[in-house]
Symmetry: C2
Subunit: 293 residues, 2 copies
Amino acid sequence: MTAHVIGIDGGGTSCRAALTGRDGVVSGTGKSGAANILTDMNGGVRHIIEAAQRACDDAGLRGELSSMDVLLGLAGANMDASVEALRGRLPFRRCEIESDALIAVHGALGEADGVVAIIGTGAVFAAKQGSSVRTIGGWGFVVGDQGSGAALGQELMRRTLLAHDGVGPASDVTGRLFSEFGGEPQKVVAYAHGAPPGAFARYAPMVFEYAQRNDPVATAIIVEAAGQIDAFIDAMVGTELQRLCLLGGLAGPYEPWLADKHRARIVPAQGDALDGAAQLARQRFLMTGDVRV
Amino acid sequence: MTAHVIGIDGGGTSCRAALTGRDGVVSGTGKSGAANILTDMNGGVRHIIEAAQRACDDAGLRGELSSMDVLLGLAGANMDASVEALRGRLPFRRCEIESDALIAVHGALGEADGVVAIIGTGAVFAAKQGSSVRTIGGWGFVVGDQGSGAALGQELMRRTLLAHDGVGPASDVTGRLFSEFGGEPQKVVAYAHGAPPGAFARYAPMVFEYAQRNDPVATAIIVEAAGQIDAFIDAMVGTELQRLCLLGGLAGPYEPWLADKHRARIVPAQGDALDGAAQLARQRFLMTGDVRV
């Protein structure tokens, strides 16, 4: 079984695994539930093991997970000590745990160098040069994640309350959000307090929708946020011409709002985060041996 | 005992009561612990009763609290249904519960009309015309409270992380904050997540301190925030010349940063929130009778 390794994309809604060999061909895949180890460690452990087992079964591979080498990409893996607790509970022979951003970057760029902007509920930026990947952003929407879906939704709520108070301009989009809360500012506040990032991010598509129709408040929010995304990309790209991949649920909506110099760099992603995990697993466990021996 | 009423300022750190009569002279005061009914209803009830009893004792007044009329100003009184639960547990004959902003406004302006900006951990604005008081802002720092101490501290953390990532400029104040967290961005993020407003607001004085020394990042934060405070005051003042009182822990630091037109309106507060509660108690329970009969 040493000729096979497993890459896993452990996400907040599902966990996917891919079995691959020296040639990089994926011979089996498996899917299971969420790997949210911060909020549900037991469920996360179960789903990671389940997805790995299903990938082996899919490939018709018989054998123990305890003889497998696994590279696991995990949301928030750079943020918490619970990663170490997770490692102790996984049955694999070797297990390397990396951030979800890292596997996404390797999936998107493949062997090439470049910059990846991952903009969904959060926002994180990575620059890949050879096997080295540097990330910025991704600090969460309380003190970071400028331009993220959560930040857009939160800003829409802020501006809706400002419009209600007569401090800022009202527009169709503030009226639309306000009506979703029955026209009661207290309900907006109650929704926002203690809400997870996703509860704000669900209003991000509404901001883009109204900005496309030239709603002045929605446009102002998107222009400001796109400027922040541009600033993060500027900090990564430097002055050289580099390829740029946009990933995440808001990649498409943001594209027309970014600076021309950045839009000119954009290339489609070669693969997704699961591809990246499988590719990294192969590099880490199968290729280095080839080189060294 | 009908010739006496009690005004209470129920705050997040202490609860103060003042006993007054028809003439408006305060004949006894009492102090007790916090009246944080959202987080500690039992403690809040106990401290409100204790403060009222101590004010009666201080005045040498014997008798039952059940024969007293009380006006209670309470932080967050406009935000939560637990106010009704509180009312049912208080022993007073009549009890009117108002927001802390309302009693602060009456204390600051007395009989006069004007605008009050209360800027501390939060930020709320009130316009008083006769007995009518209209408030704006005060929606909490997640979707409001622009310019508040919590917003200033949060913005300093944001800009410190942007400087660390090379996306925004670094300066003395971002260096200072970063060093307080051991130069580890993860520690800034961990501190911020789930932190109460006060945990951000404790860094507001640092922003003012560095802005006074012309630190560019601190100055940018204060200039932007003062512009937001100005916008709230604009929305309240309209075009008429009206007196303006600045209250709260950041009133003094903000004053030199506000627009000249607003600085020209500023008058000192006539009294504090407890004065306002006592005055309102007198108006509600003792004066209306005089007028109507």
